[in-house]
Amino acid sequence: MIHINCDVGEGVDNEEILMPYINACNIACGGHAGDAETMHTVVALAKKYQVEIGAHPSYPDRVNFGRASMEMPEVEFIKTIQKQISDLEKIVVLNDAKITHIKPHGALYNDVAKSEEKAQLFLKAISTYKDKYKLYISYNSVIEKAALEQNFKVYYEAFADRNYNDDLTLVSRKKSNAIITEIGEVIQHVSTLKNEQKVCTVSSQKITLKSDTFCVHSDTLNAIEIVQQLYSHFNTKKDNSKTKFPTYKSYGNSGMLVTWEAKMSPEVLNKVLEFKEKVLSFNIKVIVELIQSNNSLLIVYDELKVNFITLQHLLERLFLLKNDIVQTKTYHCWEIPVCYDSKFGIDLPEIAQKNKLTIDEIIQLHTAPKYQVFSIGFLPGFLYLGRLDKRLHIDRKSTPRLEVTKGAVGIGGMQTGIYPKSSPGGWQILGNSPINFFDASSENPCFAKAGDFIKFVSISLDEYHNISEAVSNGNYELKSSVE
């Protein structure tokens, strides 16, 4: 395992994709980039992905992105550094999160590494945070000695995507070999640092360099690819036997099918629903639509903003996060009135004969269980229900009817269900429900959702007519209880 950190909130707008791969982020807090809004967004994201949050103060120089050294009066300097950190602190508190570290940005980072005076000044500016936050600095830098003497909690940082000179300074960005972009080289570079605590410099010497965390520059052209590769090389467990499911498969040019065990069971459904809620709660911008079914989730994404493999990594990371970050969804049990009168139950005699049951027994067996809603599909508002009593299993009619009336309650094979509208169909019909299962004029067109339960309640023909009238007048309230 390695610890990866990235500078974020700098306007590159790739945080959503970066966060799943990294352990810590350094958030621009107004000096070189960033404002209240960007800080807020990034802090919220970091919290969701359980990424450590750091303040990333800089010389107050947005024009040069904090990449030029600045001479400024001591008081002014201390004031701006403290303001940047406290601005981020306020936002972090609002998000009920915590700051873990401070990392100076750009030219300031380089200056404190080289100049005793700048190092002392910076430490003076952040002295109040000495016991609270770690300080990210480079090994063998000028600030290191001063920080250790003053009992700062030093955390050594090395750069995963930068070449080093023999004196352990970074190769200047003005030179063509400043940045390592080739993935294999980045991994080699990090492996040496991790395993030997040494860096291979541009002159091919191996020099001691301690590192607790590795920085990837999020504005490097292939930053996403670099963090992905580092993550999958160093930070994923090779043993995948425990998490055989779900599987991730490409489906169409913008679809990802996430599939669990090929079983129609409440346990599998639960896993699907739990993951669906998790994905929804993360409100991932690149995801367009989620289509849930019994043992799978089709994730439709914006293929212009994210590719399949990145989204898969993101979802895998999400899957591993603890479930307690997601608010549990409330599921209901709905009481569905059904009239089993012979007027509606046109196939009751056939079922009775074939399954050797009386009509009363059929009604009793059909109304006894609570059926879980596994998914909605086939027709708008058609509920796939689980677990029909075995004694009621019956083949579909040999010749389907051209029209089955709206509200018809039927059995097809091992399943029971309700036709939400008139349509051709081959199910054996045992009754009719007077309520609406789909209302296109409502933003929430179906009262039930996957995970809810349905309980059929037998009603008389008179009750059927009363409810039917109430439904058409819009004053019928469906009975339900919280599961």
Binding site: G252, L257, E289, S293, S375, L379, P420, P445, K449
Partner: protein, 279 residues
């Protein structure tokens, strides 16, 4: 208003579809041939997903009560304005009282009629696309009045819109692997990619193919399907799902068409031949 004097064979209002309600079992719907639907809107300067009239094989007779600009793209069904033949792919000025008719089919299956700013039928669940049970009607009927915004402003004509004859003549259909592709044996794969298939029963829900691919695959647990998905039924029938397809299905999803191929297929008629090419 546009008055429907004759409805034609299957004429409906479609935009780019109804998204976000598939979890309730609501199909996407929308124009079958996205290329020509979007082109018609583009020529008039409309939003790409403005509602157009999708006309199938045999065109309607339409009477315009207000001035506007129209354009017809896609299949050539011999359109005539006040009995004079008109060209496809160019904006045409409509005066109050003009009548649009269609005649013999020269090529293609679906033509798209766009008006300036799009047809203004009711939006339901975010879309104007007709679908039985969601919108009041699933197709337009004789005597209907279809609303649009009257405008006399002329659209500049694009002289450089080239007719893409290849989108009608190509029989190559590009596919990706579907989620259950791995079930296919070597032999079945060979058959899929070396057979010239002919189009059987077809409508806005699905295109069936006549040639069979024998298999002994089990059904899968009901799972999401998409327009462009090719399902293989136990009887060996290949079913290519189209825009009005159900949201879930239980047959193995062996292949998936790309967007362009869905457009190409929707201009194919019963008996036309196609073959698959893996991307």
């Amino acid at each position: 208003m546009m008055e429907v004097l004759q409805s034609g064979l299957y004429t409906s209002i479609q935009d780019f579809g109804r998204f976000g309600y598939r979890n309730y079992g609501v199909p996407i719907s929308g124009v079958m041939d996205e290329y020509h639907g979007a082109l018609a809107n583009q020529i008039l300067g409309n939003d790409q997903d403005a509602a157009v009239l999708e006309i199938t094989l045999q065109g309607p007779s339409l009477y315009f009560h207000e001035a506007t600009q129209i354009v017809i793209c896609g299949a050539d069904l011999s359109p005539k304005l006040n009995n004079q033949p008109i060209r496809l792919n160019i904006p045409i000025h409509i005066a109050k009282g003009d009548q649009l008719d269609f005649g013999a089919r020269n090529y293609g299956v679906r033509a798209y009629l766009a008006v300036q700013h799009g047809f203004q039928t009711e939006k339901i669940l975010g879309s104007r696309s007709f679908y039985d049970g969601i919108t009041v009607k699933s197709r337009i009927q004789k005597g209907d009045f279809v609303p649009y915004q009257a405008t006399a402003k002329k659209v500049e004509s694009f002289s450089n819109i080239k007719l893409r004859q290849d989108l009608f003549s190509d029989s190559e259909i590009n596919v990706f692997k579907g989620p259950e592709f791995d079930l296919l044996s070597k032999q079945q794969r060979k058959q899929l990619f070396s057979t010239s298939f002919s189009v059987g029963l077809n409508n806005r829900m699905a295109y069936q193919l006549n040639e069979l691919v024998t298999n002994d695959f089990p059904s899968i647990i009901t799972s999401a399907v998409l327009p462009g998905t090719i399902q293989l039924t136990p009887s060996g029938k290949l079913i290519i799902l189209m825009k009005d397809c159900q949201t879930t299905g239980g047959y193995p999803r062996i292949l998936q068409l790309d967007q362009k191929s869905i457009s190409i297929l929707s201009q194919k008629h019963t008996g036309d031949s196609i073959y698959f090419k893996m991307l």
